[in-house]
């Protein structure tokens, strides 16, 4: 009986150790999984923020490009250009004369054009 009792107590102690070890391992796995989950979540959140910021920058750049095109268009519109040219003292030419030369040695042609409509 004593032997049996002693053997039973020993078995119990072994089982206790196993249970404790199992609990520690399970706990470690659980902690590991939690840490991994947190890491992935954090990374995802950070990437989302980065994506947001990049999208925002892209939108700002698109806005700036389009605004610049508009400014170019407005600055080069015929009325604005004409006014600027007049301010600088330019006047439409009454006549334009130009010489057309040909590569094959044919006689050149002198042309005169009226620019008045």
């Amino acid at each position: 009986m004593a032997q049996t009792g002693w053997g039973g107590a020993r078995t119990l102690r072994v089982n206790d150790r196993c249970a404790v070890a199992m609990a520690i391992v399970s706990g470690a796995v659980l902690v590991g999984l939690t840490v991994a989950w947190l890491a992935v979540s954090t990374r995802t959140a950070l990437l989302n923020r980065q994506l947001d910021e990049l999208e925002w920058k892209h939108t700002l750049l698109t806005e700036a490009i389009n605004r610049t095109w508009t400014e170019i268009g407005e600055a080069t519109s015929p009325q604005v250009m004409e006014d600027r040219a007049k301010r600088l003292g330019f006047r439409p030419a009454e006549r334009i004369e130009y010489l057309v030369t040909t590569l094959d040695g044919a006689p050149a042609i002198t042309m005169t054009h009226s620019t008045k409509p």
Binding site: N48, D52, T62, E63, N66, T70, G73, I96
Partner: protein, 567 residues
């Protein structure tokens, strides 16, 4: 003391109550769980719409003709707007209206929203700049008033205003293209609607990306376009015409270098115009308005006759000055009788009677088969929205008679758009090949891919030899008939056309005059159409359209760098 029966009853009641509660809990937690889970999920999830700008439009040199800028739309929120007077005070200076007008508008919207079927738009301001929007929201915040909702959007801006307006077209607030290039290329220009689904700012669930629409590059030359519009406005003033159109085509490709119409419109003001009596201006008359072109089309009749071998440049005809067919009397425009004439005389004096005789001799089948090949009676396929097809009655129509054949031969009794007319005459300039006119030469997709449009030859209508022979005849006829069209250094070939103006089927005293020509006629590079509606200074084409043709041709050669071919 409670009896055992009563105790049993109490136990049963409590048991039943708990059973019902338990059953309900099972129903909610298990049976209907997906439904409630979905409802909760929907409450937690936010879906945000993201919009990218519509593609830009450039001329052939890269000048921006249409771009999209960040802007804001202001709506009324009928559930939260109460103090219309204060809100109107903040809104009025932003939208450029009086306070009482703004307040009336707000109250009308509130009243309308009470009806089961509201009809008024809740939009009170659109295309507001970021600065104006910021000013409005700050004012409302300082007044502690709500009731307006501000949405981000992209506003379409046309930096050059009315220049090339009808060709470019316009867009609605959505934005959707409604005319011109904006309508025809709406699919390419539009940006897809993007979406972001997120549980919180940090938990993005799904993203549907958006990107800007494709950028279009037009064949238009802004310098030439600007000149052509100024010259058309001058011509309208000089002749007292009610309207007009000028088109410049690149002969060998069909590329549209300039297209101007009067009255035009500023696409920046299109949404305003759409709700006004001037809404009829929101179209491109060059593509949408069919008219009776008149004698310009004699060139097509003669080209067909020459190509069929029915006539030669030397053939002599006898002009009797009068022709009766199916009780319809046909005269020359000068009511004269010219006796023995060649096709050069027919063109130089624009004779109706011998032209009609040639068509009658040719027969309806050959005539209409060629006229359709020249592109009459069906759309040219120009890449502009709302193109009209014109009307060309053929012998298969019950209302057709041989008198139609006679009148059609000199451009009457049929209708065509300015694009159809210039494209048909361009066949003679382009050695007999009909081209499809086009306005967009390439588009740049967002992924950087560049799609280039190639010129599209539609059909060979007449032989190259016939085209060249007819060009020589036209050059001589132009020197005799309309010398004002000649440009120093360049041989010119062209033809006038005059037709009566009809209003609701009633012939008026006024006319529509057209001139179509091309140069250098020995090796054509550009083809030009000038059309004026109801000129008051003269009812004929020569004194009204020809000087305009001359000036446009001369300036086009300078701008496009076309060298002179003769001294």
């Amino acid at each position: 003391m409670l009896s055992s029966r009563r105790l049993t009853m109490l136990a049963i009641s409590i048991g039943l109550t708990f059973s019902i509660a338990f059953a309900r809990a099972i129903q909610v937690q298990v049976v209907e769980s997906p439904k409630y889970a979905a409802a909760a999920y929907d409450q937690q999830i936010e879906t945000r719409i993201t919009l990218a700008p519509r593609g830009a439009i450039f001329d052939r040199s890269g000048n921006p003709l249409a771009v999209s800028n960040r802007a804001y739309i202001v709506h009324v929120d009928a559930r939260t707007l109460t103090d219309t007077a204060t809100v109107a005070t903040a809104l009025a200076p932003i939208i450029g209206k009086r306070v009482d007008e703004a307040q009336r508008r707000l109250e009308a919207i509130l009243e309308d929203r009470k009806s089961p079927t509201p009809t008024l738009s809740t939009i009170v301001a659109y295309n507001l700049s970021p600065q104006a929007t910021s000013q409005l929201t700050q004012t409302l915040r300082s007044l502690a008033r709500g009731g307006l909702v501000v949405d981000e959007t992209w506003a379409r801006v046309y930096p050059y205003g009315p220049i090339a307006g009808p060709t470019i077209g316009f867009v609605s607030l959505q934005p959707m293209g409604y005319s011109g290039v904006e309508a025809y290329y709406n699919a390419q220009l539009s940006s897809p609607i993007g979406q972001r689904r997120e549980r919180s700012r940090l938990e993005l669930l799904a993203i549907t990306p958006t990107h800007s629409g494709a950028d279009l590059v037009l064949t238009l030359d802004l310098s030439l376009q600007t000149y052509v519009e100024a010259r058309l406005a001058q011509a309208i003033q000089d002749t007292g015409a009610s309207g007009g159109t000028i088109i410049v085509l690149e002969t060998q490709t069909g590329a549209v270098l300039a297209s101007a119409s009067w009255p035009g419109y500023d696409p920046n003001r299109a949404i305003e115009l759409a709700g006004s009596p001037d809404a009829r201006l929101l179209r491109d008359p060059a593509a949408s308005d069919a008219y009776e072109p008149g004698s310009v089309l004699k060139v097509l009749t003669l080209a067909t006759a020459l190509d069929l071998g029915q006539v030669t440049p030397q053939t002599i005809f006898t002009d009797t000055g009068r022709l009766v067919i199916h009780n319809k009397r046909i005269y020359n425009s000068d009511r004269g009788r010219h006796g023995r004439v060649t096709i050069e005389d027919i063109l130089a004096h624009s004779l109706n009677v011998p032209t009609a005789q040639i068509a009658l001799e040719m027969g309806a089948e050959a005539f209409y088969q060629r006229f359709r090949l020249f592109g009459l009676g069906h759309r040219t396929g120009v890449d502009l929205g709302n193109e009209a097809s014109g009307v060309l009655r053929t012998p298969s129509d019950p209302e057709w008679s041989r008198a139609d054949l006679a009148t059609n031969s000199y451009g009457q009794g049929l209708t065509a758009t300015p694009y159809q007319v210039i494209n048909a005459i361009n066949v003679i300039a382009n050695d007999g090949v009909l081209m499809q006119p086009y306005v967009v030469q390439q588009w740049r997709a967002t992924n950087g891919e560049i799609v280039r449009k190639q010129p599209v030859p539609v059909a060979r209508v007449i032989s190259a030899q016939t085209a060249r022979a007819l060009r020589q005849v036209m050059m001589r006829a132009t020197r005799r008939g309309t010398p004002r069209a000649l440009v120093k250094g360049y041989p010119v070939a062209g033809k006038t056309g005059t037709a009566d103006w009809y209003l609701n089927g009633v012939q008026l005293e006024t006319t529509i005059v057209t001139y179509v020509g091309f140069l250098p006629a020995d090796d054509p590079r550009i083809t030009i159409l000038v059309k004026l509606d109801q000129p008051q200074s003269s009812q004929w084409s020569a004194p009204t359209t020809v000087p305009v043709f001359h000036d446009v041709a001369e300036r086009a050669c300078q701008i496009l760098g076309i060298p002179p071919t003769m001294a």
